[in-house]
Protein backbone atom coordinates (compact mmCIF):
# COMPACT_ATOMS: atom_id res chain seq x y z
CA UNK A 1 0.00 0.00 0.00
CA UNK A 2 2.77 2.38 0.99
CA UNK A 3 4.71 1.54 -2.17
CA UNK A 4 1.59 2.14 -4.25
CA UNK A 5 0.95 5.50 -2.57
CA UNK A 6 4.61 6.45 -3.08
CA UNK A 7 4.31 5.53 -6.76
CA UNK A 8 1.13 7.60 -7.15
CA UNK A 9 2.74 10.59 -5.38
CA UNK A 10 5.86 10.32 -7.50
CA UNK A 11 3.83 10.16 -10.71
CA UNK A 12 1.79 13.22 -9.65
CA UNK A 13 4.93 15.19 -8.84
CA UNK A 14 6.42 14.26 -12.21
CA UNK A 15 3.27 15.38 -14.01
CA UNK A 16 3.11 18.70 -12.23
CA UNK A 17 6.76 19.33 -12.96
CA UNK A 18 6.49 18.36 -16.61
CA UNK A 19 3.26 20.03 -17.54
CA UNK A 20 2.89 23.08 -15.35
CA UNK A 21 6.19 24.50 -14.27
CA UNK A 22 7.53 24.48 -17.83
CA UNK A 23 4.38 26.22 -19.04
CA UNK A 24 4.44 28.62 -16.13
CA UNK A 25 7.92 29.78 -17.13
CA UNK A 26 6.77 30.09 -20.72
CA UNK A 27 3.73 32.06 -19.60
CA UNK A 28 5.84 34.47 -17.60
CA UNK A 29 8.11 35.00 -20.59
CA UNK A 30 5.41 35.49 -23.21
CA UNK A 31 2.29 36.88 -21.59
CA UNK A 32 3.80 38.34 -18.45
CA UNK A 33 1.72 41.50 -18.08
CA UNK A 34 -1.68 39.97 -18.72
CA UNK A 35 -0.72 36.86 -16.82
CA UNK A 36 0.29 38.73 -13.66
CA UNK A 37 -2.81 40.95 -13.82
CA UNK A 38 -5.03 37.91 -13.99
CA UNK A 39 -3.05 36.13 -11.33
CA UNK A 40 -3.09 39.00 -8.83
CA UNK A 41 -6.79 39.59 -9.49
CA UNK A 42 -7.61 35.95 -8.96
CA UNK A 43 -5.46 35.70 -5.81
CA UNK A 44 -7.06 38.83 -4.31
CA UNK A 45 -10.56 37.55 -5.10
CA UNK A 46 -9.76 34.17 -3.53
CA UNK A 47 -8.28 35.78 -0.43
CA UNK A 48 -11.37 37.98 0.08
CA UNK A 49 -13.69 35.01 -0.48
CA UNK A 50 -11.83 32.71 1.87
CA UNK A 51 -11.52 35.45 4.52
CA UNK A 52 -15.29 35.93 4.49
CA UNK A 53 -15.71 32.18 4.72
CA UNK A 54 -13.23 32.00 7.61
CA UNK A 55 -15.03 34.79 9.45
CA UNK A 56 -18.38 33.05 9.09
CA UNK A 57 -16.86 29.75 10.22
CA UNK A 58 -15.24 31.45 13.20
CA UNK A 59 -18.53 33.06 14.27
CA UNK A 60 -20.37 29.75 13.90
CA UNK A 61 -17.73 28.01 15.97
CA UNK A 62 -17.88 30.64 18.71
CA UNK A 63 -21.66 30.30 18.79
CA UNK A 64 -21.43 26.51 18.95
CA UNK A 65 -18.93 26.64 21.79
CA UNK A 66 -20.99 29.19 23.73
CA UNK A 67 -24.17 27.15 23.35
CA UNK A 68 -22.54 23.77 23.93
CA UNK A 69 -23.87 21.67 26.81
CA UNK A 70 -20.44 20.35 27.76
CA UNK A 71 -18.17 22.90 29.42
CA UNK A 72 -15.04 23.77 27.42
CA UNK A 73 -11.81 25.06 28.82
CA UNK A 74 -9.97 28.06 27.46
CA UNK A 75 -7.18 25.95 25.95
CA UNK A 76 -9.52 23.67 23.98
CA UNK A 77 -11.28 26.76 22.63
CA UNK A 78 -7.95 28.10 21.46
CA UNK A 79 -7.05 24.78 19.84
CA UNK A 80 -10.40 24.66 18.05
CA UNK A 81 -10.00 28.19 16.76
CA UNK A 82 -6.45 27.55 15.64
CA UNK A 83 -7.48 24.33 13.91
CA UNK A 84 -10.31 26.02 12.07
CA UNK A 85 -8.09 28.89 10.95
CA UNK A 86 -5.38 26.50 9.85
CA UNK A 87 -7.95 24.51 7.88
CA UNK A 88 -9.30 27.60 6.17
CA UNK A 89 -5.85 28.98 5.42
CA UNK A 90 -4.62 25.67 3.96
CA UNK A 91 -7.81 25.34 1.89
CA UNK A 92 -7.34 28.86 0.53
CA UNK A 93 -3.68 28.17 -0.26
CA UNK A 94 -4.65 24.99 -2.15
CA UNK A 95 -7.37 26.88 -4.02
CA UNK A 96 -5.00 29.70 -4.99
CA UNK A 97 -2.33 27.24 -6.11
CA UNK A 98 -4.92 25.37 -8.21
CA UNK A 99 -6.04 28.54 -9.94
CA UNK A 100 -2.47 29.75 -10.30
CA UNK A 101 -1.35 26.54 -11.99
CA UNK A 102 -4.51 26.38 -14.09
CA UNK A 103 -3.96 29.89 -15.37
CA UNK A 104 -0.29 29.24 -15.92
CA UNK A 105 -1.20 26.27 -18.03
CA UNK A 106 -3.86 28.18 -19.96
CA UNK A 107 -1.65 31.12 -20.79
CA UNK A 108 1.48 29.11 -21.33
CA UNK A 109 -0.10 26.54 -23.53
CA UNK A 110 -2.39 28.72 -25.54
CA UNK A 111 -0.54 31.96 -26.09
CA UNK A 112 -1.53 31.82 -29.78
CA UNK A 113 -4.73 29.80 -29.44
CA UNK A 114 -6.69 30.95 -26.37
CA UNK A 115 -8.64 28.20 -24.66
CA UNK A 116 -12.27 28.76 -23.78
CA UNK A 117 -12.56 25.83 -21.42
CA UNK A 118 -12.39 26.54 -17.68
CA UNK A 119 -8.76 26.60 -16.57
CA UNK A 120 -9.51 24.50 -13.48
CA UNK A 121 -10.95 21.78 -15.75
CA UNK A 122 -7.78 21.86 -17.85
CA UNK A 123 -5.70 21.57 -14.69
CA UNK A 124 -7.81 18.64 -13.52
CA UNK A 125 -7.39 17.01 -16.92
CA UNK A 126 -3.64 17.42 -16.82
CA UNK A 127 -3.52 16.00 -13.32
CA UNK A 128 -5.85 13.03 -13.77
CA UNK A 129 -5.64 11.86 -17.37
CA UNK A 130 -2.92 9.45 -18.51
CA UNK A 131 -0.12 11.10 -20.45
CA UNK A 132 -0.67 8.97 -23.56
CA UNK A 133 -4.18 10.28 -24.28
CA UNK A 134 -4.11 13.61 -22.43
CA UNK A 135 -3.45 16.00 -25.31
CA UNK A 136 -5.87 14.47 -27.89
CA UNK A 137 -8.57 14.00 -25.27
CA UNK A 138 -8.39 17.59 -24.03
CA UNK A 139 -8.23 18.75 -27.66
CA UNK A 140 -11.42 16.84 -28.43
CA UNK A 141 -13.13 18.42 -25.43
CA UNK A 142 -11.91 21.84 -26.56
CA UNK A 143 -13.24 21.24 -30.08
CA UNK A 144 -16.63 20.24 -28.76
CA UNK A 145 -16.79 22.99 -26.13
CA UNK A 146 -17.91 25.94 -28.29
CA UNK A 147 -20.80 24.05 -29.97
CA UNK A 148 -21.75 22.79 -26.53
CA UNK A 149 -21.80 26.38 -25.15
CA UNK A 150 -24.04 27.48 -28.03
CA UNK A 151 -26.36 24.53 -27.48
CA UNK A 152 -26.52 24.30 -23.68
CA UNK A 153 -25.17 27.57 -22.30
CA UNK A 154 -21.80 28.17 -20.67
CA UNK A 155 -22.64 26.87 -17.21
CA UNK A 156 -23.96 23.50 -18.39
CA UNK A 157 -21.17 23.16 -20.95
CA UNK A 158 -18.60 23.71 -18.19
CA UNK A 159 -20.35 21.14 -16.02
CA UNK A 160 -20.19 18.62 -18.89
CA UNK A 161 -16.47 19.30 -19.37
CA UNK A 162 -15.76 18.56 -15.69
CA UNK A 163 -17.98 15.48 -15.88
CA UNK A 164 -16.24 14.22 -19.03
CA UNK A 165 -12.78 14.70 -17.52
CA UNK A 166 -13.59 12.93 -14.27
CA UNK A 167 -15.37 10.12 -16.09
CA UNK A 168 -12.49 9.77 -18.56
CA UNK A 169 -10.01 9.58 -15.69
CA UNK A 170 -12.08 6.81 -14.09
CA UNK A 171 -12.49 4.97 -17.42
CA UNK A 172 -8.79 5.17 -18.27
CA UNK A 173 -7.50 4.40 -14.77
CA UNK A 174 -10.11 1.87 -13.63
CA UNK A 175 -7.60 -0.97 -13.31
CA UNK A 176 -5.38 1.10 -11.00
CA UNK A 177 -8.42 2.28 -9.05
CA UNK A 178 -9.59 -1.30 -8.64
CA UNK A 179 -6.13 -2.34 -7.42
CA UNK A 180 -6.17 0.52 -4.91
CA UNK A 181 -9.65 -0.44 -3.64
CA UNK A 182 -8.64 -4.12 -3.31
CA UNK A 183 -5.44 -3.15 -1.48
CA UNK A 184 -7.42 -0.90 0.89
CA UNK A 185 -9.98 -3.66 1.58
CA UNK A 186 -7.17 -6.16 2.25
CA UNK A 187 -5.46 -3.76 4.64
CA UNK A 188 -8.75 -3.03 6.35
Amino acid sequence: MRALLRKVMSASRQRVRDHFLVRYRFAVQTESKEFWHQLVGSAAFNLILTSIFALVLWLVEIALILWAVEPTTGSSLLVLLLASWLGVISASVIFIVLRFVGRAHRFGRCADHPSNMPSAALFLGYLLLPRKNREPLLGDLEEGFEPSVRKLGRRRACFFVYWEIVWAAVALHWQRLLALIIATIRLG
Binding site: R109, N133, E135, P136, L137, G139, E142, G144, A171
Partner: protein
Protein backbone atom coordinates in the same frame (compact mmCIF):
# COMPACT_ATOMS: atom_id res chain seq x y z
CA UNK B 1 -5.84 -18.40 -35.96
CA UNK B 2 -8.79 -18.15 -33.56
CA UNK B 3 -11.37 -15.47 -34.21
CA UNK B 4 -11.25 -12.46 -31.91
CA UNK B 5 -14.68 -11.72 -30.42
CA UNK B 6 -15.40 -8.11 -29.54
CA UNK B 7 -18.13 -6.45 -27.54
CA UNK B 8 -20.89 -4.47 -29.33
CA UNK B 9 -19.35 -1.09 -28.49
CA UNK B 10 -15.89 -2.22 -29.61
CA UNK B 11 -17.39 -3.42 -32.89
CA UNK B 12 -19.15 -0.08 -33.37
CA UNK B 13 -15.92 1.84 -32.73
CA UNK B 14 -14.00 -0.35 -35.15
CA UNK B 15 -16.71 0.14 -37.80
CA UNK B 16 -16.68 3.93 -37.24
CA UNK B 17 -12.90 4.05 -37.71
CA UNK B 18 -13.30 2.03 -40.92
CA UNK B 19 -16.03 4.36 -42.21
CA UNK B 20 -14.20 7.61 -41.41
CA UNK B 21 -10.87 6.44 -42.91
CA UNK B 22 -8.49 9.44 -42.89
CA UNK B 23 -10.70 11.54 -40.64
CA UNK B 24 -10.92 9.03 -37.80
CA UNK B 25 -10.06 10.92 -34.62
CA UNK B 26 -11.94 11.48 -31.36
CA UNK B 27 -14.67 14.00 -32.29
CA UNK B 28 -15.85 12.51 -35.65
CA UNK B 29 -15.79 8.99 -34.19
CA UNK B 30 -17.88 10.19 -31.26
CA UNK B 31 -20.37 11.99 -33.57
CA UNK B 32 -20.65 8.95 -35.83
CA UNK B 33 -21.30 6.66 -32.86
CA UNK B 34 -23.85 9.02 -31.30
CA UNK B 35 -25.68 9.29 -34.61
CA UNK B 36 -25.82 5.56 -35.17
CA UNK B 37 -26.27 4.27 -31.63
CA UNK B 38 -28.72 7.07 -30.72
CA UNK B 39 -27.12 7.62 -27.33
CA UNK B 40 -24.55 9.89 -25.74
CA UNK B 41 -20.96 8.62 -25.89
CA UNK B 42 -18.47 9.97 -23.35
CA UNK B 43 -14.89 10.79 -24.30
CA UNK B 44 -13.62 8.52 -21.55
CA UNK B 45 -15.56 5.50 -22.80
CA UNK B 46 -14.38 6.14 -26.36
CA UNK B 47 -10.70 6.56 -25.49
CA UNK B 48 -10.81 3.56 -23.15
CA UNK B 49 -12.16 1.43 -26.00
CA UNK B 50 -9.72 2.86 -28.56
CA UNK B 51 -6.82 2.12 -26.22
CA UNK B 52 -8.06 -1.43 -25.67
CA UNK B 53 -8.43 -2.02 -29.42
CA UNK B 54 -4.95 -0.61 -29.98
CA UNK B 55 -3.48 -2.90 -27.35
CA UNK B 56 -5.18 -5.86 -29.09
CA UNK B 57 -3.42 -4.83 -32.30
CA UNK B 58 -6.62 -3.98 -34.19
CA UNK B 59 -5.91 -0.25 -34.46
CA UNK B 60 -2.85 1.91 -34.82
CA UNK B 61 -2.62 5.61 -34.05
CA UNK B 62 -0.58 8.64 -35.07
CA UNK B 63 -0.57 12.22 -33.82
CA UNK B 64 -1.61 14.99 -36.23
CA UNK B 65 -0.66 18.65 -36.32
CA UNK B 66 -1.92 21.00 -33.55
CA UNK B 67 -4.88 23.17 -34.64
CA UNK B 68 -6.19 26.52 -33.28
CA UNK B 69 -9.76 25.29 -32.74
CA UNK B 70 -8.38 22.62 -30.40
CA UNK B 71 -6.45 25.15 -28.30
CA UNK B 72 -3.18 24.20 -29.98
CA UNK B 73 -3.56 20.50 -29.23
CA UNK B 74 -3.00 17.77 -31.78
CA UNK B 75 -5.47 15.18 -33.03
CA UNK B 76 -4.89 11.47 -32.62
CA UNK B 77 -5.81 9.68 -35.83
CA UNK B 78 -6.67 6.00 -35.81
CA UNK B 79 -6.46 3.49 -38.66
CA UNK B 80 -7.34 -0.18 -38.83
CA UNK B 81 -4.55 -2.74 -39.01
CA UNK B 82 -4.83 -5.83 -41.21
CA UNK B 83 -5.89 -7.78 -38.14
CA UNK B 84 -8.50 -5.11 -37.40
CA UNK B 85 -9.99 -5.42 -40.89
CA UNK B 86 -10.13 -9.22 -40.54
CA UNK B 87 -11.83 -8.93 -37.14
CA UNK B 88 -14.37 -6.47 -38.53
CA UNK B 89 -15.13 -8.80 -41.45
CA UNK B 90 -15.57 -11.69 -39.04
CA UNK B 91 -17.88 -9.59 -36.88
CA UNK B 92 -19.97 -8.68 -39.94
CA UNK B 93 -20.24 -12.36 -40.98
CA UNK B 94 -21.16 -13.35 -37.42
CA UNK B 95 -23.92 -10.71 -37.33
CA UNK B 96 -25.30 -11.86 -40.69
CA UNK B 97 -25.28 -15.51 -39.54
CA UNK B 98 -27.04 -14.50 -36.34
CA UNK B 99 -29.81 -12.66 -38.21
CA UNK B 100 -30.20 -15.08 -41.12
CA UNK B 101 -33.61 -16.68 -41.27
CA UNK B 102 -35.32 -13.86 -39.39
CA UNK B 103 -38.16 -12.68 -41.65
CA UNK B 104 -38.25 -9.15 -43.04
CA UNK B 105 -41.43 -8.44 -41.05
CA UNK B 106 -39.19 -7.84 -38.02
CA UNK B 107 -38.43 -4.38 -39.43
CA UNK B 108 -42.10 -3.39 -39.56
CA UNK B 109 -43.71 -1.90 -36.44
CA UNK B 110 -46.14 -4.25 -34.67
Amino acid sequence: MSEMVLGPFEESVLAAVFRLRDEAYGVPIMRDLEERLKRRVTVGALYGTLERLESKGLLKSRLGEPTPQRGGRSKKFYTLTASGVRTLQAAWKRTRRRWSGVPAQIHKPA
